[in-house]
Symmetry: C2
Subunit: 271 residues, 2 copies
């Protein structure tokens, strides 16, 4: 049976490997979770998959876990960035948590023309991402970057990274499925198999997303105050940008982040 | 120009119609939002669409708005229920807010075998749904039902209502797109058009979802403690149930609610 407690550690994992616990981890395991010698804990470090480990030393200020057997291989998320403009603390926390659960590889808070250059606590947000990864059974923790200006991020935008750009001004206009298909280019021109009998169960495997499915992507969630005209013009002019609608209602930033990642994961990602 | 302030009122709306304000609404409009005589407010009541109105009387304890012109017709959401097991207060509030934004018609909190029969404040949750509808530009407020037992809800389950059942035990197994296609029955057996050139922009219009797209639906989000074996067996035995996976990671209930509604809205709903 696999352990119910999952811990992220910054230490190599492997058969027989001992992992020293830091004070906080020991407090959590032995104080809060009441683990004792022989107790089972699942560990992951973002590199070596998930390992079942046993408590082999328990103290007030430390302890040791020993790896027993690997329970999951490393599952890297697809190369997807989530870019968003932080506003209120609680919603920013939620967006980071959701991005980790939904399988973003990197989380990038940005300042935009209409958001005050609100400070963020990068270390606190990173801790949220760790907690979400522990909770959701993932074997990878997305990196939370420091706050940067959207304009600077776009100044150094990588050529091949596609951008799903959720623009409130496009409410109800363009569905992601059609965007991913319609922009697929010549490589996407394979003929789809004819469907009969209403089964079509593996049709998705042959959907003509072409090269878009092989490229790195980013999702940009509009700030609650909207983009400025200058920002909107610049984004629309980018060759990598794909404007996508998230339905007829205006979604809050945290709702939009989950909805956009769902569309992406279902269409091009690991769902 | 349309008003930035949107208010839900329980009063008929129409050209020249006067709407008396309650004390709380007057406080919000004149105290908090600093509106004065002649100020613009958008109104909706769940029946008459959205109307632009003008402040024609302003006082400390009341006031009057007068409808000028209709700015949106009524947009009813698709007949989709969201069923979930409330746990912590903040996450329950979020789920109700998200369900309103995402376009659920009705929100049903349920007690399950593994959730304590936590009380809910139906009136508070309904107020959250109103606020979310005001915020997202919708013209409809979903009804929040009182807490009931899942087993009782299933005892009286309507024959024709399909159920999208998000089971953590099915992590990474069944994608909603295939579920909606594969279960479409004989009516769903139309032949899909062959796709060429990678455009296929209106292919979605002919996707063979058949009768499933014409029926009422419900989404059931698993409680954080999971379903009991008894519940799982009963759900799997229902003719209306369609088990759906939400990807390889385990999502929290509020994340799962948004992700499931996104899949449904994109495939069968109003996106």
């Amino acid at each position: 049976m696999s352990a119910k407690i999952r811990l992220y550690v910054e230490h190599p994992l492997g058969a027989g490997q001992s992992i020293p616990l830091e004070k906080e981890q020991a407090h959590y395991l032995f104080g809060v979770m009441r683990q004792r010698l022989g107790g089972a804990v699942a560990l992951f470090n973002g590199f070596d998959g998930e390992w079942q480990a046993e408590v082999t030393e328990a103290g007030k200020r430390g302890g040791t876990l020993t790896c027993v057997a690997q329970s999951k291989t490393l599952q890297m998320p697809p190369d997807l960035w989530l870019i968003f403009a932080p506003i209120k603390k609680a919603r920013t926390d939620f967006i980071v948590e959701k991005a980790a659960e939904m399988g973003a590889a990197r989380i990038l808070p940005v300042g935009t023309d209409y958001t005050n250059s609100e400070r963020i606590r990068q270390d606190r947000l990173q801790a949220h991402a760790v907690e979400a990864a522990e909770q959701c059974g993932g074997t990878y923790v997305p990196e939370v970057c420091d706050l940067q200006k959207l304009s600077q991020l776009l100044d150094h935008w990588p050529d091949e990274r596609q951008l799903m750009f959720c623009d409130e001004a496009e409410v109800g206009q363009r569905r992601f499925l059609e965007v991913a298909r319609g922009s697929a280019g010549p490589e996407g021109g394979r003929e789809a198999p004819a469907l009969g009998g209403g089964t079509g169960a593996d049709r998705s495997a042959s959907e003509p997303f072409g090269k878009l499915s092989l490229q790195p992507w980013a999702i940009l969630i509009g700030p609650e105050g909207g983009f400025s005209d200058k920002e909107r013009k610049r984004l629309h002019a980018m060759a990598q940008a794909h404007v996508v609608s998230l339905g007829p209602r205006i979604l809050r930033a945290d709702t939009a982040a989950v909805a956009a990642m769902t569309l992406w994961q279902q269409t091009l990602g690991d769902w």
